[in-house]
Symmetry: D2
Subunit: 344 residues, 4 copies
Amino acid sequence: MSALGMAVVGCGYWGPNLVRNIVACPQTRLVRACDVDAARLAEVLAPYPGVQACTELAEVLADEQVTAVAIATPVATHHALARECLLAGRHVLVEKPMAATVAQAEDLVALARERSLRLMCDHVFCYAPVVRVMKDIIDAGSLGDVLYFDSVRINLGLFQRDVNVIWDLAPHDLSILEYLTGRQPVAVSVQAARHAGWEQENMAYVALDFDNGFLAHLHLNWLSPVKIRKTIIGGSERMLVWNDLDPAERLKVYDKGVTIQPRPDRAARDTALVSYRTGGVTSPHVPHGEALAGVVAEFAAAVAEKRAPLTDGASGARMLRILEAAQQSVARGGARVPVAGEGA
Amino acid sequence: MSALGMAVVGCGYWGPNLVRNIVACPQTRLVRACDVDAARLAEVLAPYPGVQACTELAEVLADEQVTAVAIATPVATHHALARECLLAGRHVLVEKPMAATVAQAEDLVALARERSLRLMCDHVFCYAPVVRVMKDIIDAGSLGDVLYFDSVRINLGLFQRDVNVIWDLAPHDLSILEYLTGRQPVAVSVQAARHAGWEQENMAYVALDFDNGFLAHLHLNWLSPVKIRKTIIGGSERMLVWNDLDPAERLKVYDKGVTIQPRPDRAARDTALVSYRTGGVTSPHVPHGEALAGVVAEFAAAVAEKRAPLTDGASGARMLRILEAAQQSVARGGARVPVAGEGA
Amino acid sequence: MSALGMAVVGCGYWGPNLVRNIVACPQTRLVRACDVDAARLAEVLAPYPGVQACTELAEVLADEQVTAVAIATPVATHHALARECLLAGRHVLVEKPMAATVAQAEDLVALARERSLRLMCDHVFCYAPVVRVMKDIIDAGSLGDVLYFDSVRINLGLFQRDVNVIWDLAPHDLSILEYLTGRQPVAVSVQAARHAGWEQENMAYVALDFDNGFLAHLHLNWLSPVKIRKTIIGGSERMLVWNDLDPAERLKVYDKGVTIQPRPDRAARDTALVSYRTGGVTSPHVPHGEALAGVVAEFAAAVAEKRAPLTDGASGARMLRILEAAQQSVARGGARVPVAGEGA
Amino acid sequence: MSALGMAVVGCGYWGPNLVRNIVACPQTRLVRACDVDAARLAEVLAPYPGVQACTELAEVLADEQVTAVAIATPVATHHALARECLLAGRHVLVEKPMAATVAQAEDLVALARERSLRLMCDHVFCYAPVVRVMKDIIDAGSLGDVLYFDSVRINLGLFQRDVNVIWDLAPHDLSILEYLTGRQPVAVSVQAARHAGWEQENMAYVALDFDNGFLAHLHLNWLSPVKIRKTIIGGSERMLVWNDLDPAERLKVYDKGVTIQPRPDRAARDTALVSYRTGGVTSPHVPHGEALAGVVAEFAAAVAEKRAPLTDGASGARMLRILEAAQQSVARGGARVPVAGEGA
């Protein structure tokens, strides 16, 4: 079978990574790259003389060799560009977040279904080796019941003009959360602030409620003096800490837990019914590997096998339901806002 | 002037620390210690043969040499014991939180005022050398405008029978926050969970709103596999990180910041108006010293000078207003609950 | 069987720890404590009204209830005091290093043997829970062949008047090394320096040769701006790192190694014959517990069972042979100096 | 003035970095690149279609546009290749170590002097921003008298076929040491080991003596389970720690020291004459920047200005005198070996 002919649309910050990985992947072939900035494009394509450059999407879609398009433009343009590609019969891989609104995302999902085309969202962390190892640990039941997910993703970060800190950083955690636990939040409450006269929120605390007592919380901050990327997943049997800034021991599994016996008699407040367990710590080996290579391989496989990719359009739409609810919570001063259900 | 004659009531977990510090302080003299468990008391007092042991508060109050009483019993008993001491004309130092309800706290404050007695709450961190250094840095204006306060206080902690994680841990952060910034929150929203079949919340995210855009957030958790005690205070000029578990560099001041010029023209979204500054890091020397020694010295000084102590009854009452609002937020599923004003 | 009646001689820096542990140990009973400074002694004994204080060794030895003596005086006095105790028929526990010279140590060993008395050296780290866990790991063969031992023990330390940094710090590492590996070095080379006009060496690099290619190295330093207490033990199968300043993960076992196949043909420099293995990291649980409690318990057991204690006089003498060779190496500008064999 | 026309000879591990930096430097122009492996070369040059590829040095030297040659081949070939280039009238930049023997290095130095050509050794760390900041701190006298230099450079590293761990890693530290302190060691003692059946030493402790009590020590290890790259420079006033693996605080200056007053009377062993000072810690900002860019810029400037570069051939020869002495020390079982003086 021949490699999937692809084009990359948008070669600003993230596009060059797509270019590099599509070139490197044996199942894909980069045919074209497109950007409104021809000079930037020439620079990005310098090492790849076989790839055609163009500045208009129409040129991309006119090329019969292009079977699929990867879109890495600003969020506001995702819907229009992806729509055009789908209408032109191309499979589409879109940067996160998939669109600017739930309605746009649902429109793309419906269109792709109608045309029997693949629509995939680049939730890149779901393909990171470290997250794969975490998934294996959780699926094997090592943590017992998963009780909570706590993520801190803070830095002195670049303020974005077109999105706030939630739209910029939360997609990473939300996609990881869905991938690892398979759970959807029912409501979200956000405490956010806009500092230093900026128009967009630059720090936010996002609390996510779930049906069954499970709790998730994200601390997102562009105004932190220190860079922290740490996720704690608490389980009834073991707990897991992912420190993405510690390359030597990125993942640690703590053999720690609390066991509380059901108390038949409410009056008997005997502390002996609570027992703590403090065992050792294990840091499993995490293979090297670029997450984006996994994204490209999965996309090519989904097209070849005519199946939904792991992070399909529907998962992109689910994420947008959470982001919209979070945005409403900000607008309503931190109120708890329900997350719309699928098809709602 | 002779040393202040004191008694300690309650010699369980914290009481022995009070005993030791009151003995060591040149301005105080420990006359008596009282606990319902005579054996425990004997053990605690073994090194101090000159201190009288007793099991009834009445014995304490009958002793003319006792001018002031330090109370370190369970929270539920604070009000009744402190009230009795004040009625008997004794100055009172109470463990945090000062009482179980705002009403109780206000009653004690009123009573002490009426009788011209000192009422102090043992907000011990306000006397820790590291917090003193932080206070000096903030008061000197080094941070510029203080933008946010973020505290993480998590551990695999002992579940308490009589209080939840908020009542156990938040008082530390709330007292530090008031001491450092002089600000009172106007509302509080809490996302909390009770895991492992326990009756009390064992993890909580407490978000505190202030009038002027300032934001504070506490992550409190008895179910964390790792112990973290880290506070970040973001300022417009510099930022500060207090890592209480790094004895060699407990405090770091980051010469980092973001400057955003006011934009006369909303349409002109020029990123050049945002500038980042990344300078060095300074870790000021933090003197050694036990915080509780400072508490005892301040209490003795306040009594001697007939003035309010730094962490007086009113500050204890203010903290209870926040704790009560937090508890209501938990009860109302994370709703934003206003914090009652003083005298409200 | 009744508890072993003991006395502590020397209540300066370390003696109070002996006092506390001998009081606490069920197999021992502290009868007397002795120090030339009566005021210091009174302070140390305040919590223990049942213990007799005295300022002369003669008083200790006149007390029939004293069956064994623990000596924690300056090194220069160890030999004379221990000798007197042995001559008076008492078992002896001596602080490290056991004596000031090999000759003194051998004299004590011979005397104790002659009188059938227990002579033990307080090599306290051999009783630390973390070292016990390391011993179990090594004895179980987890590390494969043990290849090297590298220890860094540095700090801005108190300069000692009577000993240099080698005599102060090396005993810890030398006793751990002997305990863990059972090996004796054949030669020692020391690079040392005396800085800041001081008479004693305040930093030293101590390299220890062994017969079989095994190498040990100690970096000892009183002049370091940072405190490091880290030991690496390299094995052919796994490697171990002990970081004594990381209470949460004091010990880590790295499933890492290098495998090199014997090369039949010298000319064939095929790198494929070398293979690296990088697996996970495990941090075994280290139980809490004070090492000195283990010292006291072992001493009492050795007396009761009429057997040599784990760290007996002979091990104290072996350590002195290394220390003397190290001192000669310093005197000879870093020359490699053989370590005298037992009975040499 | 036109840019310096350059060729890179050797495009294995390090050569591609030279290629990239010579292309990027405004003062240099990459004309040719040469490697015996044409396929590897094609891959390296793919992004740079304007650069000529060739497999023979003769082709390089036949090209009139090539004014200077950068050599990044195995050490054993440095001398022959550099000699040929110098004889052909080309300036030469050589990878570290500059040659395989002192004699070879001195031959190159003499030849370059004779022909008035620039000969530079790529001691790349001397151009690293962090080392530049350290140099400024030391030159400003902030550390007071510099007392010692302690470097740990360990990892589970790739075993090299043609050099041992000393020749591989020590050049980094030796060049930094010379650059920062301007001092030359008078003798070297090395404790080394060959583990796992390997022919080359894979771990070594290198102690360097200096005339005036200054001491330097390097721990070099390819067999460590953990990666450490940490240098401590102790001074009489302040001390400095460079942790190259901590990107956020790569450099720390500790305001710590020991002051010892000269003691007129040897008998008066008064500890009060020693005083410790423990102040804060400062982590100066280290600008971003690739060290190799500085190497290339310095080489171009030295050619243009007809002056010796900072790390000239003579410094390369001085390093080889130390490496040869170290090798002899290994061969003589760790003996202290004098380092030959310049022109010796």
